[in-house]
Symmetry: C2
Subunit: 137 residues, 2 copies
């Protein structure tokens, strides 16, 4: 059942060109391509979290960026925000249906990355060795 040595390239419609329909790729990337969105999704994949829990779980995120990221994901309907009125206030974030479906995509991203990381590292090392002091990087 192996497809080794056959053409396994996915059939992708051309897009981004003038006459072609928008394939939607830029759409997703505009949504999750930023620094923090995926990390929030990953964290929420294992269950609802409070604001402070997210901030502790996601290393390096600032209060400002966590707020902005959560707002954007909420606006797109990928997570829901529920306020439990109390003192101090308590706010919980939960992935919605669409948000949970995103976790599969993120899983695919992570899998691909882990599978190809060594190869890419080697390729980089080779390139950098062959092109000393080049402008790229």
């Amino acid at each position: 059942m192996s497809l080794t040595h056959t053409e396994v390239t996915a059939e992708l419609e051309p897009c981004g060109a003038e006459g072609h329909p928008d394939c939607g790729i830029r759409d997703v990337l505009d949504r999750i391509g930023d620094t923090w969105s995926v990390l929030v999704v990953v964290e929420l994949a294992s269950g609802p979290r409070r604001f402070s829990e997210l901030q502790r779980a996601i290393d390096g995120v600032s209060q400002r960026m966590l707020t902005l990221t959560l707002r954007r994901l909420e606006r797109d309907g990928l997570l829901s925000r529920s306020v439990h009125p109390s003192i101090p206030p308590q706010v919980t974030y939960t992935l919605t249906g669409p948000g949970r479906s995103l976790t599969h995509l993120v899983k695919a991203l992570a899998d691909w990355s882990l599978a190809h990381r060594p190869l890419i590292a080697d390729a980089r090392a080779a390139y950098d060795a062959a092109h000393p002091a080049h402008t790229i990087r």
Copy 2:
């Protein structure tokens, strides 16, 4: 065989946190999360292309950004650059094995986007209606 109404969230290891291993998600996004890389990959998915063909196919890309994008993808071993010495010069770009495997990921991105675009559009409209003149957007 349907899994409807069950938990279909992908099991994702927490990552980005302190004690946790790097799940690699940021890695992929740093590689293809930029404005032009995926579009180049999509275009090359249907076969080798010359520099000028890519520039015509990808609407809006500048000479500078196309060069930078191609160099980065080449450095990571996702495409190969072959120069046919002639006047005028002729340079062809081709996806490598790892590069072709990327097309599957990109396909998944496009599929997810197309499937959820209407829902997300509705969610946005609803949010914007409920939060008039908010800072987000």
